[in-house]
Subunit: 327 residues, 2 copies
Amino acid sequence: MSSEEKLIERVRRRFPISEKGLTIGIGDDAAVLRPGAGAEMVVTTDAFLENVHFLRKVHPPDAVGYKALARATSDVAAMGARARYFFLTMGLPGACAGAWLDGFIGGMARAARRFGLILAGGDTTKYPKIVMSLTVMGEVDRGKAVLRSGARPGDLLCVSGRLGEAELGLRLIQRKLHAGKHWTMLLKKHYYPEPRLALGEWLATHRFATSMIDTSDGLSTDLGHICKASGVGAAVFASKIPAVKVPSELRGLGLDPLGLALHGGEDYELLFTVPERFSRRLPRRVGLVPVTVIGEIKRDKEIVLLGTDGHSGALESKGWDPFRKKS
Amino acid sequence: MSSEEKLIERVRRRFPISEKGLTIGIGDDAAVLRPGAGAEMVVTTDAFLENVHFLRKVHPPDAVGYKALARATSDVAAMGARARYFFLTMGLPGACAGAWLDGFIGGMARAARRFGLILAGGDTTKYPKIVMSLTVMGEVDRGKAVLRSGARPGDLLCVSGRLGEAELGLRLIQRKLHAGKHWTMLLKKHYYPEPRLALGEWLATHRFATSMIDTSDGLSTDLGHICKASGVGAAVFASKIPAVKVPSELRGLGLDPLGLALHGGEDYELLFTVPERFSRRLPRRVGLVPVTVIGEIKRDKEIVLLGTDGHSGALESKGWDPFRKKS
């Protein structure tokens, strides 16, 4: 057995290998799979790169594995689809092929079980840095995928969970406050984000949401994507945003909860719109995930933030954009 | 428009954007696609990394784009499937976002047209090196995918095209003989490999092939994969192997055509088995691609090379294995 085959075998052992619908999984030239009757396939790919998306010295290997899969799966949730299969291509330094890889696989396998994903294939290569790409496939009933482009004036703007929590974790890391156990809970959302699969599927199945996106780049940027794709604007009420709670001990760090919630990326919550006539039927939570109305879709193509002080102003996109020049 | 959106827009302009079966392409959280009635989806992913799979200073950008897509598509051909959609995740240095990227996209767009592939999504990030992963999806009629595991004793072993041509190109590069125009034709297979889609689909549709793989790692390694998956062995006739022709001017470099053909990787030809009773109906070429019988599947689980001198010996896998320790 070649060393690459041994590596593939080590990965394969940690994942369930067969499932109805997956005709051929790992071990042939390609996977063969069969969507359920009346279903469409939802497909997304996501790069996850050392020193861009994670730091080998900071992020525990199991968090790297968990998060890599979670963030790609979040795009499937944002279409309202059920998660089905995933593929991993990976470049890996020889020094990481032992304990690091075991931790990584452990985290990824835990995420896969949690999200209902089957590893269906991949590719591994030796490389000086840890680089990977995840392909995640889901299924949705024909015509029920929720797009970015369906928001209409008058729709309510809603968000799941709490915003800014992942960004707070990142700020703690940047300030080297992550190592001790004191702030472990505040790092959880940054290390182990939760794609909102159940909520997304619920919204799609009941045709509740007219548009949907996941908050990977931050509310201000992702709301911009919905408004642009739908040809609309929005008004957001600052007082309604479920912002991260910053512990009083950290107040000296100048962390503004509203700023973290508006522009912080990687929460992987769902941002979606529902027609106003559904407002009474809108659940306050789906499973354990709270849903909050934070604004309204407007005909005017601008995004306005209505402040707690009564003032209002344009909400500019300040989220993640890897190719933007630093000012 | 953000710089990432501008980059996506530049890529999108070069590719056709919609096609029957693709409900949602680039621009939402994920693509939505619908396999044809009675079809199964074939999915493969492939990493393509600077300094492992190509060198920025050697390989022209359009060859990088062409080859990245061709090698992933070859896995779809090796299942006997039609190529349909592809996804590109990419890390890219800022210095490559101009002319280099234009050349790269040009080569990839040419490959996509040639192979019948639609770009359905992707992900771009700034990165110090050029790293990418291709996901290619195909379709095959239900139950007709050709696996590695179907070879039976008595089957004829066949290969398409000519073996060792890509390895010859690589050797010329290693000897720095690639820059001049004199050997341009010898570099073609290394720069612009051709996935054998028409042949693969023909073999699957007519249920001619009992097993199939593409020669990405080299004949000696890829034949090993077929034999292992099928629980069989093989006899290969050295005299029948369609080996690369090494020009007489290069004979001083010690390049053995048979050695290049047996162990050289990246030809992306199809290696397949057909029942002996089909031998008379086996076409000598499909389209412009020649097909050659080079051996036979045996019950004994060993792979034997019958030399031109009448001697025979075990054929050991000496192809590409990125995690093998260098001896």
